[in-house]
């Protein structure tokens, strides 16, 4: 199952989170589309202070583009958005708003044995937050390095005696070399851990510190930070749109985006990927949505909000995809032109033709002419194959889209450092706003679970969580860090999310009772939810989730776990080598994916056992005690 950064070789699809702020105080949709509202405890009795958390688009960053052509991906994505995303979104908004607790509290209110669902959400939020911030650290590294002209990833460094470029760089490309060698310094397998890369460590420290500053007092500080992190990406995206549309070849990228590829639609894996993408897009099942929604006033119109959020989400998805694909089209055209020029040069050199005789238009005829005039010499010439479609759908795996494809496209634009700075600021804001949701999904359940003493200030709690996760995330600063990240991305985010979402819907509809839920919503917004919600909640969405889950199990059981490594010693070098995971990785996968899923039945069993024991000892004898009179606390003898 795909995570936000798929390493199964699919390019990403656009991930959107959008938000809206309605006027009567409260609806603020968080970075993940969560409803956020200031509760009276925030200090406003009469109305509510609105914290506008507008979700933004997490595109390239935590989204992926389908390698099989965005046109093919859009359709399943939009369909599943309507059938799976919107109902689940409405459900989470509604229960949070009604029961007014975080995810753990909500599920234990519905049924005490279901507390495991909340705990599972907390685990998922924790795991995703763990590796997500490392990506932000990488973005910061690129951002820090963007303030120089020429950009460091635009040219290869020279070798020792300055007669040529470093070999690894000459064989691949400057952007690849910069990403794999100078940023990650990646080893050749996940076994080979290497040491901590100090520059990545510095950036990671910076990323966690920024996150701490923004979430230090919970919603109070987050609410203010979101003003920047939500609006800035839209601004930058618009700037990139204008820039992108004026580049040569942008139209070919956009056409590629919107042409549906019918063969891909028939492939179940596309639907699988689209389904998982919807979850990431809305941050469903992370627990953050429920928590944010609990801050809303009881009579807030959550139905309208969920529809608005979804519409804006869909629109932003298309918008961002257009921007990204216009830039990809530009890059593909440049590469195509380069490839063609190289072929023309080969022909001209081989036959000593004058300049200008061979162009892109008459290349084919000139080739035939040369072949006819001197077949022997012609046979010795080696031409590259230049196919526009290959360039457009070039394999970009998750982080590759942002750090390789886009950075290369940026180096070809005039005033490259400016675009680079803007781009990485945008990615930083997007990532940070996603992290807010994750932090909320970890901090609030911990408070609800009563494991933290009540008198600890919030700053201390947030600080401890940030520090703990930071120390765990040091693993991603090793040489093999990128492989660990891909592993977590693939397994920590997808399976548990699907399981949690399925149980959420099942619990609300069948354990809490759909009729009771309908009455709650009628109480909150004034009318019962209409037939669309009834059908999707009861039947369509759970079935869809179950189908996706089963499909995924079937597919993953059959396939071997492989991952891509960057190995300069590989024969087809610039391409990544596919290597099998070592055996201990299976253990890690089981822990990472299994623990959240097993928390659900695990907690139910634990509760059952505890109830059994309590019932056995329930009938205790009456304890005799003397009653003493006390007035105002003074015991009167």
């Amino acid at each position: 199952m795909r995570g936000p950064l798929s390493t199964r070789g699919t390019e990403g699809s656009v991930l959107n989170r959008t938000g809206v702020c309605t006027k009567t105080c409260t609806v603020l949709n968080g970075p993940s589309g969560e409803m956020l509202k200031a509760s009276p405890k925030m200090g406003n009795e009469a109305g509510c202070s609105c914290y506008q958390l507008c979700a933004v688009l997490d595109t390239t960053y935590c989204g992926e583009k389908s390698r099989r052509g965005k046109g093919a991906f859009m359709i399943p994505f939009l369909i599943l958005l309507v059938l799976e995303g919107i109902p689940l979104l409405h459900l989470e908004f509604a229960i949070g708003q009604r029961l007014r607790k975080g995810s753990v509290g909500v599920w234990s209110s519905i049924h005490p044995a279901l507390k495991g669902v909340g705990i599972a959400s907390m685990f998922v939020s924790f795991m995703v937050g763990l590796y997500y911030n490392t990506i932000i650290a990488w973005v910061m590294w690129y951002f820090f390095n963007s303030f120089q002209d020429p950009l460091p990833w635009s040219q290869c460094p020279l070798n020792a005696n300055q007669t040529g470029y470093v070999e690894e760089c000459a064989r691949s490309s400057p952007v690849d070399y910069y990403w794999y060698r100078e940023t990650l310094n990646v080893s050749t397998s996940i076994d080979d851990s290497g040491s901590v890369q100090w520059w990545v460590l510095l950036c990671l420290t910076c990323a966690w510190s920024v996150l701490y500053v923004c979430t230090i007092r919970g919603i109070e500080t987050t609410g203010k930070a979101v003003y920047v992190t939500s609006t800035l990406p839209y601004v930058v995206l618009t700037i990139f749109l204008i820039r992108g549309l004026t580049l040569k070849g942008a139209s070919s990228g956009i056409v590629f985006l919107f042409t549906p590829n019918v063969t891909e639609l028939a492939n179940p894996v596309t639907w699988l990927d689209a389904g998982a993408q919807v979850f990431y897009s809305f941050s469903l099942a992370f627990g953050g949505l429920i928590s944010f929604s609990s801050y809303n006033s009881v009579h807030n119109n959550c139905e309208m909000d969920s529809v608005i959020v979804s519409v804006i989400n869909g629109f932003t998805s298309v918008y961002a995809a257009t921007v990204v694909y216009s830039i990809i089209g530009f890059r593909a055209t440049e590469r195509f032109d380069d490839c063609f020029s190289a072929n023309i040069l080969t022909l001209i050199n081989g036959f000593d033709l004058p300049e200008g005789n061979v162009t892109q238009e008459n290349f084919a005829e000139m080739q035939q002419w040369c072949n006819a005039s001197n077949p022997a010499a012609y046979a010795e010439l080696k031409f590259q194959t230049c196919d526009m479609n290959t360039f457009l759908s070039e394999g970009v795996e998750g982080t590759g889209l942002a750090f390789i494809v886009f950075t290369e496209a940026i180096t070809r634009m005039p005033a490259a450092p400016l675009w680079s700075v803007l781009f990485f600021i945008m990615l930083f804001c997007l990532g940070l706003s996603s992290m807010f949701g994750n932090m909320e999904g970890v901090v609030v359940p911990l408070q609800d679970l009563n494991v933290i003493p009540k008198n600890w200030p919030k700053e201390l709690l947030t600080g401890l969580i940030c520090l703990g996760t930071y120390l765990l995330a040091l693993i991603f600063t090793l040489n093999s860090g990128q492989y660990w990240l891909s592993l977590l991305d693939r397994y920590a985010g997808s399976i548990p999310l699907l399981t949690v979402a399925f149980f959420e819907m099942f619990s609300v509809v069948y354990v809490y009772g759909i009729d009771r839920f309908n009455r709650d919503i009628a109480f909150m917004i004034g009318h019962k939810p209409n037939i669309f919600w009834q059908v999707t909640w009861r039947v369509v969405s759970p079935l869809l989730m179950l189908t996706i889950f089963l499909f995924f199990l079937v597919i993953s059981v059959n396939e071997e776990l492989v991952y891509s490594v960057w190995n300069p010693a590989y024969e087809e070098f610039p391409k990544s080598q596919k290597v099998k995971y070592p055996n201990w990785v299976y253990g890690v996968v089981v822990v990472v994916a299994g623990v959240p899923c097993l928390a659900i039945p695990g907690f139910a069993i634990y509760k059952l056992i505890r109830n059994r024991f309590q019932r056995a000892g329930d009938q205790q004898g009456l304890v005799g005690a003397q009653s003493t009179v006390s007035v105002n606390g003074d015991v009167k003898s």
Partner: protein
């Protein structure tokens, strides 16, 4: 001794951006005066260039002059003349062979000498033709690539330092203001408690009948007035 010949090839690069001059084809004359040249094997480089002028005999003369100039800067070869430089096999691509003979015109100069002389004056030769290392290529004379300028402190550390300082300052401010708020909150209720005690005492003293003081801790929602419906939905 087999003298190796150097081939110079001028390549035209397809103009990436806008204009595309179509240079006129050049048909220079062969001047194979002098000893027989042994052809050399060469591999074709892969760079193209845009010509800003047509290649004619005058340009060839300039080239010969530049090569002669380079040779004259070698300690033993100050007597090299333009007529000692010979071009041949000039093709339409504007690529040709050249050799430098010694003043007696009996044999050609060794390859290594010519190679090092051109290498030292590469910049001047490039500039004379408005070309650069990529666009004017001498086969078998490797280009000396300019090393990138490395600032003493990498730029990124400066930016990182600035950002980190801002973050530290912001964290300190937020934590301090949080502590101050906490202290104010703690002082508040304790002050209330004092007055409450006093009130209690006065009540006790005044009436002599102990009674429950009113709940003075303000700001609480009175639970008595919250309807059951608001809190929970009936099963």
């Amino acid at each position: 001794m087999v003298s190796s010949l150097y081939c110079m090839r001028k390549m035209r690069e397809r103009c990436r951006q806008t204009d595309r001059h179509t240079p006129t084809p050049v048909w220079p004359q062969l001047e194979p005066s002098g000893p027989i040249f042994t052809p050399c094997l060469f591999t074709l480089p892969s760079v193209l260039l845009l010509f800003q002028y047509t290649w004619d005999t005058n340009e060839e003369y300039l080239f010969k002059a530049m090569v002669a100039f380079s040779m004259r800067r070698v300690p033993n070869r100050e007597a090299t003349e333009i007529s000692h430089v010979l071009l041949c096999n000039v093709t339409q691509r504007v690529s040709f062979w050249f050799v430098v003979t010694d003043p007696s015109r009996n044999h050609t100069l060794p390859a290594v000498e010519v190679q090092s002389a051109i290498r030292m004056n590469r910049n001047r030769i490039n500039n004379a033709f408005f070309l650069n290392d990529q666009t004017l290529e001498f086969l078998r004379i490797p280009a000396t690539l300019a090393p990138p300028t490395d600032p003493s402190v990498p730029v990124w550390i400066i930016i990182f330092g600035v950002m980190f300082c801002i973050i530290i300052v912001a964290t300190m401010l937020l934590i301090l203001s949080g502590i101050r708020q906490h202290r104010r909150k703690n002082k508040g209720p304790s002050e209330m408690e004092d007055t409450e005690d006093k009130w209690e005492n006065t009540v006790k003293i005044e009436n002599g009948i102990p009674c429950d003081p009113l709940d003075m801790k303000g700001g609480h929602v009175n639970d008595a007035f919250v309807t059951e419906d608001e809190r929970l939905t009936p099963l």
